[in-house]
């Protein structure tokens, strides 16, 4: 922050200016009627880009053109005043978004009805729950007549039924041929709605085009920064000390170790063990946990190889588990435990979550795993329809 005093006392000193390029060389075209996604991590420049499009920031270089009317807002509920009741806020917000006072008042009933807030019209906004707040804001926003809508991360709010309502509105707007530009983190909504999209990283365009490919690349960018950490294994010494896990990794059956594994491909998890004492019949058990800490897969070598034999002190061995990778795209941490079947289960060593792997894929249906499915629809024979005939 600057002051006049500083200016007066140090007329020649230029204040501590850091120039930061939020966006550079970004060029794209959105066609009429398209649902276009702008995606990127925090700080990638996507909000700056949206503000340039909305005319809130002016670009230092470059040009933007538009045909038709642009919605002038990028966020919901701008200008809502907590001390005013719903009606005043709806009118105020409508005017901010470019309606005339008469139009804004005329649309009030409709807005309240869509927001399902008929019972709370007289309540001051500060007494609204955040969900009610968002519902009201969204309802006003979609009343604005614009050919091009800019939307910043609205899908992350509201309860499930209202979200569904928002999706319905998006679908309707899309069907009406409106052009929508959506800025989001949520790959699900990009893949669900967008015709095309733009992936930004550090102000540069990483990819423009197909939403599925964008989702893939996004995952790649998002998890790559953690990749080195994923490779390192520092075994915690919590076992009996008779054997040690010296390395653990994931690979494809041909031995490659890519940064990401494609869903549906075979996957192999390996652990290298160094035996410090003689051990009989050791077994490896692994657990794959997703980011919500849900254990998706547990496997144990003892299921197939009950007696693995005797390993002498100083010997090394690689234990591996092969499986078809049906896990949903995302990041998994792998917990490996080396134990010995004896009297009960003796823990020799464990590696708790130091290996992580990233699964990419585009066919995910939203489950924890994507098991192979087959769909059929059997039509009943025509004569068999009961209860539908109407005698005339």
């Amino acid at each position: 922050m600057h002051t006049l005093k500083e200016r007066a006392l140090h007329p020649l000193r230029r204040g501590g200016h850091h120039s930061f390029k939020a966006l550079e060389d970004v060029s794209f075209e959105v066609r009429e009627g398209e649902f276009y996604g702008i995606v990127g991590r925090n700080g990638s420049g996507k909000s700056t880009l949206l503000k340039c499009l909305a005319g809130i920031y002016s670009a230092d270089r470059g040009r933007i053109w538009i045909t038709g009317r642009m919605s002038p807002f990028i966020e919901l509920g701008v200008g809502f005043n907590p001390d005013l009741a719903a009606r005043d806020n709806v009118v105020l917000n409508g005017i901010m978004l470019g309606l005339s006072p008469r139009e804004a008042r005329a649309r009030y009933e409709h807005v309240i009805e869509f927001a399902e807030l008929e019972d709370f019209q007289e309540l001051k906004l500060k007494n609204y729950s955040s969900g009610m707040h968002v519902r009201l804001a969204f309802s006003v926003a979609i009343q604005v007549d614009a050919d091009v809508l800019l939307i910043d991360e609205v899908l992350a709010v509201g309860d499930a039924s209202f979200q569904q309502k928002c999706f319905d509105v998006f679908n309707r707007l899309r069907d009406e041929g409106k052009t929508i530009i959506l800025v989001t983190h949520d790959m699900g909504s990009v893949m669900r709605f967008c015709h095309r999209g733009l992936l930004l990283e550090h102000g540069d365009v990483v990819f423009e085009g197909d939403p599925d490919e964008i989702a893939n690349r996004y995952l790649e960018i998002n998890f790559n920064r953690d990749a080195p950490a994923a490779q390192a294994v520092g075994s915690q010494w919590s076992g009996s000390g008779t054997a040690r896990i010296t390395d653990a990794w994931c690979e494809t059956p041909d031995g490659a170790q890519p940064s990401m594994f494609r869903q549906g491909d075979p996957l192999r998890f390996c652990v290298r063990v160094e035996f410090l004492e003689t051990v009989e019949d050791p077994a490896l058990s692994v657990a794959f946990q997703n980011e919500e800490k849900v254990t998706v897969l547990v496997a144990n070598t003892a299921a197939e190889i009950e007696r693995s034999g005797r390993f002498a002190a100083g010997e090394e061995a690689v234990f591996s588990i092969d499986f078809e990778n049906l896990m949903a795209p995302g990041r998994y941490s792998v917990h490996a435990r080396l134990s010995r079947l004896g009297h009960g289960l003796e823990l020799l060593d464990q590696s708790a979550g130091e290996v992580s792997l990233i699964v990419k894929g585009t066919a995910s249906q939203g489950g924890v795993v994507d098991l192979p499915v087959r769909s059929t629809i059997d039509r009943a024979p025509a004569g068999d329809r009961r209860g539908l005939e109407v005698s005339s």
């Binding site: 922050m1 600057h2 002051t3 006049l4 005093k5 200016r7 503000k51 340039c52 499009l53 909305a54 005319g55 809130i56 920031y57 002016s58 670009a59 230092d60 270089r61 470059g62 040009r63 933007i64 053109w65 538009i66 045909t67 038709g68 642009m70 002038p72 807002f73 990028i74 966020e75 701008v78 200008g79 005043n81 001390d83 005013l84 005043d88 009118v91 105020l92 005017i95 901010m96 978004l97 470019g98 005339s100 006072p101």
Partner: protein, 303 residues
């Protein structure tokens, strides 16, 4: 930083140029300014009569204290000193509300400015407009008071809208300048607070113009009165008072010969002598608009 200008493209449509002081159509600009001003006004009253009372209380209390001090101290020589003081305090309250109120206005409305495209000038103008609404309300108080004091409605009251209009222009110029400057220089606020205080004493609110006319000595070779009336607020204040109170007919409460002071034009001697205060008003408008307009495209980034 330069803002490149480029025109419409036959295939691509109209350019998006970024924010400015007056972009878009005039109707939207007007609706926005008016709606923001009305909302602010409404909020201050909390929709109650008590709110109205509080709005009046500030200038009235200030007037009450000053009136007591100055009348008891025999400082007020004009015969209807109280009416003069009250009308002056009310008008000056408008000026401080409009200017001091707009210093922070753009920064305080950060959520609008960073989230929505609209003509930026609507913000300071709405502050001036809210202050104007308050002035209109306070005029009722003045009207009641001066009618009780025995002042009769006069033809010169027709001058009042013009005088107030010039003060509104000056306040608008300052509010554009101050609100845009505050975005960059945060010490504008204390500076302007002090200026407002000094201006209060320099604007012929407490001291009747007769006191200055009595002072016949020269300061730097210029009569003191002329130096005093360089301040446009002082000129407007005096002319407003002259128009409002004028020489009035004596009544039960009014001693003979009461008046609101002389015409500014007469006091200064001619229009040529008013060139400086008029120039200051025009300069404030031009400079204020130029500076605000220049800052508008980057205000959102500098907040």
């Amino acid at each position: 930083m330069s803002v490149l200008t480029y025109g419409a493209d036959p295939e691509l449509g109209d350019p998006i140029r970024g924010p400015s002081a007056l972009s878009g159509d005039w109707r939207r600009f007007w609706h926005l300014t008016f709606t923001i001003a009305r909302t602010e006004f409404k909020l201050r009253f909390y929709g109650s009569l008590l709110g109205y009372f509080w709005q009046l209380a500030r200038p009235l209390m200030m007037f009450g204290v000053l009136d007591a001090v100055y009348t008891l101290g025999k400082l007020g020589s004009a015969s209807n000193y109280s009416a003069m003081l009250l009308s002056g305090v009310v008008l000056y309250t408008f000026f401080t509300e409009a200017t001091a109120g707009s210093v922070r206005c753009v920064v305080d409305r950060e959520n609008f400015v960073r989230k929505i495209q609209f003509p930026r000038l609507a913000i300071p103008l709405s502050v001036v407009m809210t202050a104007l609404f308050n002035l209109a309300i306070n005029f009722f108080a003045i009207a009641v008071f001066i009618l009780l004091e025995g002042v009769q409605p006069r033809m010169t009251w027709l001058e009042l809208p013009l005088i107030i209009a010039v003060l509104v222009l000056f306040a608008t110029g300052m509010s554009m300048l101050l609100s845009a400057m505050f975005v960059k220089f945060r010490d504008i606020q204390p500076i302007w607070d002090v200026v407002c205080q000094v201006l209060f004493y320099a604007s012929l609110i407490l001291i009747p113009i007769e006191k200055l006319q009595e002072h016949t000595g020269l300061v730097l070779g210029i009569p003191l009165l002329h130096i005093w009336l360089v301040n446009p607020v002082a000129d407007l204040m005096q002319q407003y008072r002259h128009a409002l109170l004028g020489p009035v007919a004596p009544g039960p409460l009014v001693p003979k010969g009461t008046h609101g002071g002389i015409n500014v034009l007469a006091a200064m001697g001619g229009w040529a002598d008013l060139a400086i205060p008029i120039g200051i008003v025009v300069l404030s408008l031009v400079l204020g608009f130029w500076y605000f307009n220049r800052s508008a495209p980057h205000i959102a980034e500098n907040l």
